[in-house]
């Protein structure tokens, strides 16, 4: 008998249907991955299972058989007795899912208290036990700390500890690692695997990354536009995907692609960075975010800076783009003038396409802005240039009159790239420019960047934490750790013959190719 059986689940937002009759089942102790792009209804489905839909969503129809009960008809009050105790949830964003004014220990203890444990000493012992179980060093100290004192990976471990506190028979993990670095992602997924083996807990893993799903799940459910388009054992779906959509997801997952390494053409350097140092004052002791970084980027090629968060890669990028001044060291960019004109030569594309576009401007105004700032052309000429740029980034021209909120994440990132290209720069600094996007959209943006580089002879400095993405686009790579570059070389060298232990660790963290 299945642990969880969902029949014909229908959910709508404000009367607009979002999930059209989804059915799936989870057997005891197995991992079922629900895969799809954002907007495919996968998270909505997961939240509907435990009655945690936002207030503008309604569960229209369907049965959610958990054990012998049908959760679909249950009131919030009754659902509370199941949440936490029988079904645990690991939420998506560890940064916002913990109460900032309570200690970590108190938050895990609350799960136990809510479900009837009253003995303080027992709660405390159990909390420490759980923190140790999810692999947090020094649980005594951790229990007394507040969420802001922990890293993203540690917070996610805390959330997992809370989810397993009562040994539920099912854990729903909603994109549990999307906000984390690759190496942390791997450890968290390993942890979930271990716990499953130890407690026999079933896991419903919601993810947009087929690479993650491939290595971790027994069965796959592929969703698109609120419907299940394909399902089956993971190995057989990956080996022989039936649906075009599944094939596309498979091609787009960077970890699963086996494209040849780009060749490094050689030539004069466009960016030369020498002994770059950046210190921040934190309290009394200065903190070296970037510690003696040097590298060169050949004109017309892509150089990737890879590392985990806190490795100093973004700070380096910001110094190259002159949004931060180095404490010492030099950045020289061939042919770049000083002052405001520098911006015509070097442009930065941000990670978050939701934050980098002014919400009050139209897309046309946003792309036109650099032209206005530099007084390039009169009004009709600028209009024509905007239309041209939109076409270049493969966006329909009528988007010029829309505002950012009407666009999807991928479209917004295209707009940001169009804006960066408006003043005809020669160097683009891409700061995690595809990290916030779904794999499919990510693949499209990477293809766009490659095409633009070919057509316009652009030089890219590509910042990323994701080696799989870096492998696709960059000619040369520098691996950064703790403010230093630990390894530099062509992409082929670094990927096929890593010298440094840290590089090997990063490479090992890429979800394996399953075939």
């Amino acid at each position: 008998m299945s642990l969880l059986e969902v029949h014909d689940l229908k959910v709508s937002y404000d009367g607009r249907p979002a999930v059209h009759g989804v059915s799936l089942s989870v057997e005891p102790g197995e991992v079922v991955a629900v895969v799809g792009e954002s907007g495919s209804g996968k998270s909505t489905t997961a939240h509907a299972l435990i009655g945690l839909l936002p207030s503008n969503a309604t569960l229209d129809a369907g049965r959610i058989l958990f054990g012998e009960a049908d959760l679909a008809g249950w009131s919030q009050r009754r659902l509370r007795s199941v949440r936490g105790s029988r079904i645990g949830l690991v939420p998506q964003d560890p940064a916002n899912s913990l109460d900032p004014v309570k200690t970590v220990g108190a938050q895990i203890g609350e799960v136990l208290r809510v479900h009837g444990e009253r003995d303080r000493r027992k709660i405390r012992a159990r909390v420490l036990d759980l923190l140790a179980r999810v692999g947090l060093p020094d649980p005594e100290t951790r229990a007394r700390q507040y969420p802001h004192e922990l890293s993203g990976g540690m917070r996610q471990r805390v959330l997992i500890a809370a989810a397993i506190a009562l040994r539920p028979s099912l854990i729903i993990a909603d994109e549990p690692t999307s906000a984390l670095d690759v190496t942390v992602q791997r450890r968290i997924l390993d942890l979930i695997d271990d716990l499953r083996a130890e407690y026999g807990t079933a896991v419903l893993l919601v993810t947009h990354d087929l690479g993650v799903a491939a290595g971790r799940s027994d069965r796959l459910v592929v969703m698109k536009d609120g419907r299940v388009v394909e399902r089956g054992p993971t190995s057989s779906v990956l080996a022989a995907p039936q649906e075009g959509y599944t094939k596309r997801l498979l091609d787009d997952a960077p970890a699963l692609s086996a494209r040849p390494f780009p060749d490094h053409p050689g030539g004069p350097p466009a960016i030369v960075v020498r002994d770059l140092v950046k210190e921040f004052r934190v309290g009394r002791r200065p903190f070296r975010a970037v510690d003696g970084v040097s590298f060169e980027v050949t004109r017309g090629t892509t150089h990737a800076l890879v590392g985990e968060s806190g490795s100093g890669k973004t700070t380096t990028a910001r110094m190259v783009a002159r949004f931060a001044t180095p404490t010492s060291g030099t950045v020289s960019i061939a042919g770049a003038p000083d002052g405001r004109r520098f911006r015509r030569h070097v442009q930065l594309v941000y990670q978050n396409p939701y934050g980098s576009l002014d919400p009050r401007q139209t897309i046309g105004e946003i792309i036109e802005e650099p032209l206005r700032n530099f007084g390039l052309g009169d009004r009709p000429a600028r209009r024509a240039r905007v239309a041209d740029l939109l076409e270049r980034v493969a966006l329909p021209g009528e988007l010029a009159a829309r505002r950012p909120r009407e666009l999807s994440g991928g479209q917004r990132q295209r707009v940001a790239i169009a804006r960066a290209l408006a003043a005809e720069p020669e160097v683009l600094v891409l700061d995690e420019a595809v990290s916030a996007l779904d794999v499919t959209v990510q693949a499209q943006i990477l293809a766009l960047l490659e095409r633009l580089q070919r057509e316009l002879g652009l030089t890219y400095l590509f910042i990323s934490h994701d080696l799989a993405v870096v492998r696709q686009i960059s000619h040369t790579v520098s691996v950064m750790s703790k403010g230093r570059i630990v390894e530099t070389g062509t992409t082929r060298q670094v990927f096929s013959d890593p010298r440094h232990d840290y590089t090997r660790e990063l490479l090992a963290a890429i979800p394996e190719r399953v075939r």
């Binding site: 404000d14 054990g67 012998e68 049908d70 911006r343 980098s356 002014d358 009050r360 802005e369 700032n373």
Partner: protein, 292 residues
């Protein structure tokens, strides 16, 4: 599997329990009645100010002594005062004084306050600290007291009262505008605007100001109500318009002498003031929610 089919600790009965009807959620897009009423009130008062002749045929200044101190009725909606003037006519004709005064007051506060806040928030450093300390001092003085101080410096009169009330609200506007500017200043799109080669002034005007204004506009609507109240208060205290101008505060002050015998002289104009202030507050809240 350990108890996969055993119900949870809460003793939830399984099987045989009829499935209750799903909790129907509150439908969206319902007409907010309060907001519609608020706009109707403000719209009506605006019409009074623009075309008072449409609403009353009586003269607000010249009275008919024979008809003095009549209670509210069919002939005189709000009754008449001690010299036989129609109180409703005086309220209608007085709206232009109160509204224009409130408009000037809010305008002064909004312009000066936003400007100060924008400069402080955008410049940062010493300028920010200096401006905000002045604002702190202004905020520490009670508004009415501050307005009275300014009136004593400028002398009484309708315009001066409006300016005084406006200056009293500069601090609130400045602080709110600064907080918003500081927030917007840190966003990626403002940095991206500088990155596109934007000059300081252009970026402030094009990006920082429009994105900071939401809560400030909401505060302006709220201050509009507060200004009407403050102007009426100052009028009541005799610092505003000279009699026989039918200004709302003055109306209430004049009615005070007949409080025991003719309640309508104070109560009805007072009710109008309260209604306008409440309406402004409700509208302000809706603006704040939309733009914030």
């Amino acid at each position: 599997m350990t108890g996969a089919s055993v119900p949870g600790a809460g003793g939830v009965g399984s099987g045989g329990v009829p499935v209750p009807a799903r909790v129907a959620r509150r439908p969206r897009g319902r007409v907010p009645v309060g907001l519609v009423v608020a706009w109707l009130v403000v719209g009506l008062v605006l019409l009074w100010a623009v075309v008072p002749g449409l609403f009353t045929a009586y003269d607000p200044i010249a009275g008919v002594p024979a008809e003095k101190l009549r209670p509210p009725g069919a002939g005189h909606l709000f009754g008449t005062d001690a010299v036989g003037r129609d109180v409703f006519a005086r309220v209608v004709h007085g709206s232009v004084h109160s509204l224009s005064g409130a408009l000037v007051a809010v305008g002064v506060g909004l312009l000066l306050g936003t400007l100060l806040g924008l400069l402080a928030g955008a410049a940062g450093g010493v300028a920010d600290a200096a401006v905000m300390r002045v604002v702190d001092v202004l905020l520490s003085v009670p508004g009415l007291l501050l307005a009275l101080t300014v009136i004593i410096l400028l002398g009484p009169g309708t315009v001066n009262v409006a300016i005084a009330v406006g200056i009293g609200s500069v601090a609130a506007f400045a602080r709110l505008a600064r907080a918003e500017v500081v927030r917007v200043r840190r966003t990626d799109y403002v940095e991206a605007a500088f990155g596109s080669g934007g000059r300081f002034g252009a970026v402030l005007w094009r990006h920082v100001l429009p994105n900071s204004l939401g809560p400030v506009v909401a505060l302006a609507a709220l201050q509009f109500g507060a200004a009407i109240l403050a102007i009426s208060t100052l009028g009541f205290l005799g610092y505003g318009a000279e009699p026989p101008t039918p200004e709302w505060g003055l109306l209430i002050a004049e009615g005070r002498n007949y409080l025991a015998t003719s309640w309508w002289l104070t109560t009805l104009p007072g009710a109008v003031v309260v209604a306008v202030v409440l309406a402004a507050g409700r509208i302000s809240r809706s603006i704040g929610r939309e733009r914030g």
